[in-house]
């Protein structure tokens, strides 16, 4: 059964938009990596970004929390709206923005701290009033339960996070985002370092999280895009070629380029 049919928001009369871009262009020095991207990513569903290497998927993903700016020589032009708010407005605080827009990376990047400290890291750095131990404990239990790590790790919360298995590390990286109650979770090939079981676990986790979070996932894995996303965006050479429901794109792609890419992958 296609996950899209399970999604309650898709059939709703008014579809809320999570991420909107208008004429988004981006240059690395003189190289233009994104050409006039116009996209409306719906709220509460999983949208996958597919396309060959170097097509700008990751670059586009990194625009959504303005993390591109950390690297020198990047020029961005155009408009990006998250939940209706232009994130280039002068009153946008990068701290607040990135708190609301979490990111999961290709290689699991748990902090070199204990499991417990990893989960509460975000809470601690955004903690104004001094959270009580019990509140932190609750947050850890809740986040780890949500990502399915609680039963495995509840007796090992003091273990160094980098000693966990890769799959557990990646789940922990997701758990690290949850206590901050992000609006949007960006995932940059979150399963490419994982084996089949790890991939399945992360995908199941994504299904659990969707609805509450808007999830955008970059993937090289066609099967994964097909399995777990509601909508799919195909990019090529910095341009957005096609954006449609995953079920449609994989059965009746609108553009020959999309078809070639999808079919090529299947051989």
């Amino acid at each position: 059964m296609n996950p899209a049919t399970l999604d309650p928001t898709l059939g709703a009369s008014e579809v809320q938009i999570g991420i909107t871009t208008r004429d988004l262009c981006l240059w690395y020095a003189k190289f233009q990596a994104l050409h006039n991207i116009n996209v409306d990513i719906k709220k509460g569903i999983i949208t996958s970004l597919i396309g060959p290497s170097g097509c700008g998927k990751t670059t586009l993903l990194r625009c959504f929390n303005r993390v591109n700016e950390r690297y020198g020589n990047v020029t961005t032009q155009g408009e990006i709206k998250l939940l209706g708010k232009n994130i280039y407005d002068p009153d946008v605080s990068l701290i607040e923005l990135r708190k609301s827009v979490g990111m999961v990376f290709q290689r699991p990047n748990p902090l070199p701290l204990s499991v417990y400290e990893n989960v509460v890291f975000g809470l601690r750095i955004h903690d104004e009033k001094g959270l009580k131990k019990s509140e932190l404990d609750d947050a850890v239990e809740k986040a780890l339960t949500e990502v399915g790590l609680w039963s495995d790790l509840k007796d090992r919360l003091d273990a160094k996070a980098i000693t966990l298995q890769l799959e557990q590390q990646q789940k922990l990286c997701i758990a690290r985002l949850l206590p901050l109650k992000p609006e949007i979770v960006l995932m940059d090939e979150p399963c490419s370092a994982l084996d089949v079981n790890g991939t399945r676990a992360i995908e199941e986790l994504m299904f659990k999280l969707k609805g509450r979070y808007t999830i955008v996932i970059v993937t090289h894995n066609m099967a994964q895009a097909r399995r777990c996303s509601d909508e799919c965006i195909f990019m090529l050479l910095g341009q957005l070629i096609e954006h449609s429901r995953t079920a449609e794109m994989f059965v009746t792609p609108k553009f020959p380029k999309t078809a070639e890419y999808i079919e090529g992958r299947y051989g």
Binding site: T9, Q16, K43, G44, L82, L83, G84, K85, I87, D91, V92, S93, I95, E96, L97, S100, H126, E128, K181, E183, G211, R212, Y213
Partner: protein, 306 residues
């Protein structure tokens, strides 16, 4: 219905709260502090250099560099000291750089992690912390007296080499260790020997760091007075002016660092600009030798392979 209900007004999303504002102020404070500390390092450096150059200006000339001191150091130039320093630095580096770099390659690339090598590593680290006067006494005993080199450029250079050796080993090891292990694994897995791996991948990728470590020792060698005082440097020596080969390695020599020391402490009525001019020359010499090393580094890089 999504749990995170959209904010009633999108315009308020991601905007600064009082707490964020506080964090931003702290951030600015921290950045300001670190920036100030960087300035606190740069400004004195600029001031020292400027002050030195200003004070030395009356004496600095080509003649100053190429004539021997006369009139009990009060007149004339610093030729014999300048040449002496160049001899000491170049000779000591010619001894310590190859030994140090090759030993570091062994320790980092070949040596297994056993008790013997751990002791060697520990010894290297500890040797690097030995005060230079102790090296001087060792040099006096080992090279001047035991090896019967007498007080000579050779004995002084050997002493300086012993002094810089552990530091060169430590910095080279650091540079080698910064080459990712995955590079080495890639080599081993096409059947490369360790030496082929070192030659093709490890050295080319760490040569900058290695040379930087060696270059730093140039200034240390040129600046040290204690190790050469007992082993080869003298108060005064007259050598043929303008002859780059005026010293033999068994000769005693003058050196800029020691000359600066004697002029400021032993010579009365020396011109005020003299110590400053010596200091500028010392700095200039170090910079010149460093520049040569940097040119060498660039040349290595342009040869594609390295």
């Amino acid at each position: 219905m999504p749990m995170n209900a959209p904010a009633s007004n999108p315009a308020d999303l991601f905007t600064e709260t009082a707490f964020t504002r506080k964090k931003r102020r702290t951030e600015m404070l921290a950045q300001g502090l670190f920036g100030t500390m960087t300035l606190a390092m740069v400004i004195p450096l600029a001031l020292i250099l400027g002050y030195l150059a200003y004070k030395a200006a009356p004496l600095l000339s080509w003649d100053f560099l190429t004539t021997n001191p006369t009139h009990g150091m009060r007149k004339g130039g610093i030729w014999s000291a300048l040449l002496g320093t160049i001899y000491l630095v170049v000779l000591s580096l010619c001894i310590s750089a190859p030994i140090g770099v090759l030993a570091a390659v062994y320790l980092n690339e070949y040596a297994k992690d056993n008790w013997f090598n751990r002791i060697v590593n520990l010894a290297v680290v500890n040797l690097a912390g030995v005060p230079s006067i102790v090296h001087a006494l060792f040099g006096l005993g080992a090279f001047v007296l035991f090896a019967r080199l007498d007080r000579s450029i050779l004995a002084a250079s050997l002493t300086l080499a012993i002094m810089t050796l552990p530091v060169i080993i430590a910095s080279t090891k650091e540079a080698l260790a910064s080459v990712p292990v995955s590079f080495r694994e890639a080599c081993w897995n096409v059947g490369a020997t360790r030496w082929q791996t070192i030659q093709a991948i490890v050295l080319p990728n760490s040569i900058s760091g290695i040379l930087t470590g060696v270059i730093l020792q140039v200034s240390r060698t040129a600046g040290e007075t204690a190790p050469i005082m007992f082993t080869g440097a003298v108060f005064y020596r007259n050598i043929p002016e303008g002859n780059l080969f005026a010293y033999g390695i068994k000769d005693q020599c003058m050196a800029l660092s020691m000359h600066l020391y004697t002029v400021t402490t032993q010579v009365t009525n020396a011109p005020e600009a003299l110590p400053y001019a010596i200091a500028v020359t010392l700095l200039g010499t170090v910079l010149l030798i460093n520049a040569t090393a940097i040119v060498f580094r660039v040349w290595l890089r342009t040869r594609k392979k390295w």
